[in-house]
Symmetry: C2
Subunit: 505 residues, 2 copies
Amino acid sequence: MPATRRRHTRRNSEQIKAPLISGARREIPTYDLMHDEGLELIEARSEQLLQEVGVKFLDDPEALKLWRASGADVSGDRVRFPPGLLQNLLKTAPRVFRQHARNPARTVELGGNNVIFAPAYGMPFVSDLDGGRRYGTIRDFENLTKLVYTSPWLHHSGGTTCEPTDLPVNKRHLDMVYAHLKWTDKPFMGSVTAPERAADSIEMARIAFGSDFVDRNCVIMANINMNSPLVFDYAMSGAIRTYAAAGQCPVIVPFVLGGATAPVSMIAAVTQAYSEVLVGCALAQLVRPGAPVIFGNFVTSVDLKTGSPSFGTPESALASYVAGQLARRVGLPVRCSGAFTSSKLPDAQAMMESVTALHAAVLSGANFVLQSAGWLEGALTLSYEKLVMDADYLGAMHRFLAGLTLEDDAFAMDAFAEVGPGGHFFGCAHTLRHYETAFYDAELSDTQAFENWSEKGAADMAQRANAKWKSSLKEYDAPHLDEGIDEELQAFMARRKEQLPDIWH
Amino acid sequence: MPATRRRHTRRNSEQIKAPLISGARREIPTYDLMHDEGLELIEARSEQLLQEVGVKFLDDPEALKLWRASGADVSGDRVRFPPGLLQNLLKTAPRVFRQHARNPARTVELGGNNVIFAPAYGMPFVSDLDGGRRYGTIRDFENLTKLVYTSPWLHHSGGTTCEPTDLPVNKRHLDMVYAHLKWTDKPFMGSVTAPERAADSIEMARIAFGSDFVDRNCVIMANINMNSPLVFDYAMSGAIRTYAAAGQCPVIVPFVLGGATAPVSMIAAVTQAYSEVLVGCALAQLVRPGAPVIFGNFVTSVDLKTGSPSFGTPESALASYVAGQLARRVGLPVRCSGAFTSSKLPDAQAMMESVTALHAAVLSGANFVLQSAGWLEGALTLSYEKLVMDADYLGAMHRFLAGLTLEDDAFAMDAFAEVGPGGHFFGCAHTLRHYETAFYDAELSDTQAFENWSEKGAADMAQRANAKWKSSLKEYDAPHLDEGIDEELQAFMARRKEQLPDIWH
């Protein structure tokens, strides 16, 4: 019965991964928290909010021109929306689309019952048990990209996994996109901090995939965090327009903290987020009807003792379920939740909050779960240990999403007949037929007897995770990248770096 | 806006607890994982299993007599059940009933949308950060009973929270029941390790509540772990009969580990557990039609690397959802899941696994969640720190179960009008009206800025929990117990202890 670790790990991924495209498949129902009348009420309040209050587009006359032409009411930089306008515009958005990876076997499908896990995004700090917390560097960025590549449970390489703060702010996107093309062959995200950096990201994708291919296919995704409440600044609306014009996928993510950037009520926060996301997704359709977009959701609350955001809370889990339902009604793929926590360490709080948020993600029907591994400290720190802990848990979520089979053999009537009352099932024929694929093998969870565990050093999960990321980095093998493409990418980066002066903040 | 810790804590419990009886109320839907055809298939396979294989009742001629009279097929100690017999017997079991506490305000209701949380049960060891892992004593038992009493989120005092191993095995039940009557006024569980200890437990309840009251009302619950697969030994079936005859509530809990005490397939394990629990609950009805019973569920799997049980797994979460659905179809209150983990420490693994299992508990529609606080190491260790960590998380689960309100004021349309695009909601009128009750205040979750947290000692959650249980014990105030009753309980214990020789294993 015992099998080696290596064998178990291979089996898990072989068993669960789909043969054609990458990603988990949700074979279990979504959890529909809210009844239809409640959802209709939210939609009606959103319509009221968009018509009476509207949103602002700062310093983006191009966006205002598009809105005016669409029939929206534009006054100064404020845009108000007549009922039904946004829903009508969104009819051209695809319900399901593919984001191609440079390795076709790693291409992912967004929408439907697909669930794509991507690592944490946007962290200025990194930490590990040996070095503690420090500013992230391009070396960390490369390490993290490699670690994500080695996990069978992370389908997507993410974007700004950590900020490479040792590089100029106006040039680091070049090195990040290069790392996503060089050290992994999973799909990835481009820069959103300025429209010209978005353009650079797309240009590099064109080198890797070919211009024609990029014009006809989605190969790059971009995470657009709004300035909630109800504002798009130029960096954001410009990035949406840039990616949409190129047929690439903006993920529209309101940044909604109940009590700060939204009212101190979850239902109002959800209503606001829903309104904001409709506007962003519809803008993409105005620029290029049919452009892929993702309905993003990031709703939590502020801790009223410290004024800081709280993560992995019961309120944000409730909000996630409703967001998933609203996204399905409007027919868009949805990004929802992640392995969120306020904790500064990969401790009990970290996993308590992260698992709360991740369950809401998978049961809400999320298609894209950005921030699903590595997050600590309210998005300030990427922890090497938490990255591998979360990734292991995502494996468990693959098993969860697969549900229970009702095949005849699964009922094991032959085993009951063989074993009978009072026996045990360790060696019966049914067990021998199935034990290798029966259960998810959580690599970082310890189930040993206390004495064995104690003799081997009494390590906690964070210490086991420390050993795991080091061995994964050691075993890392880079995927093949065509030499000509590599040279062209490097030449492009060198040229752009020469053209631009260094900016550091 | 900031408020003191004390104030927040009081507010949380005031806001969420119901006024009349204790317990959480589930205002959100259950998660129905399995379609009706799947449930019908499980029921059909169970019928086949009960008819073809049946169960054994060891050394209990009285139980066999009852089964023979009911129309079951009894051959030796094996009982086989014709289709429909058990479902028919279960018609007399109450769908909803109350377990009375000696303080009427702490009486709980089992069934319907009530969710009652009780601490861990049956641990031989205890641990805390200062003293490490050691055998439990009666002093620990009293401490733990007091800690459970101080938490607003634990409604039930449980039973054998830890084994008081410094007392003889045949007498320790007396001290445990006494502690549940003396140091708390929450409802509790009696002994099940032998029918005469069950009788002692009921006798002590009669002293505390009055004999007439006990005859007419449920005041004591008992957790009956079966010898899966498909066996009731005399200690178990005797305890069921003893409690049921007294109108008290046995909780029938198959002990189902896929790959060991059940087939290595979750759907077969669920089918087996369902079959076993029907038999146990029906036996209670044969003894006394109308006796309260609870449909218990404890289904997980064995780690095929170590041969030890795994906890908080995706497979057991799936099993919990299906068990909840099956229990609702048969119309019985359900005990399901808990804060399970295999970890030896209150670390990341511990809360990762516990939260996985607890979410399955609350969304499966569990009415009684035994093992919801303190559990470590696969039921071997009760951790003081984990007890308070879990209890804090149960507070979050109260908030989760309460769902989202759709009241007009919750949509905060006045706040949107007041704040508008680009503002913030910190000081607006709607926030000032609601901030005190808006969000659950997780006492042990840290949301401070890194610098503040670091300056204050950089404690992880386990260290904060260590401080918390010590302060709770210090602030503990015993509830009033009538002096006459106290004396009578002590006299009963003294008499019984004198009558029995000490047995130590």
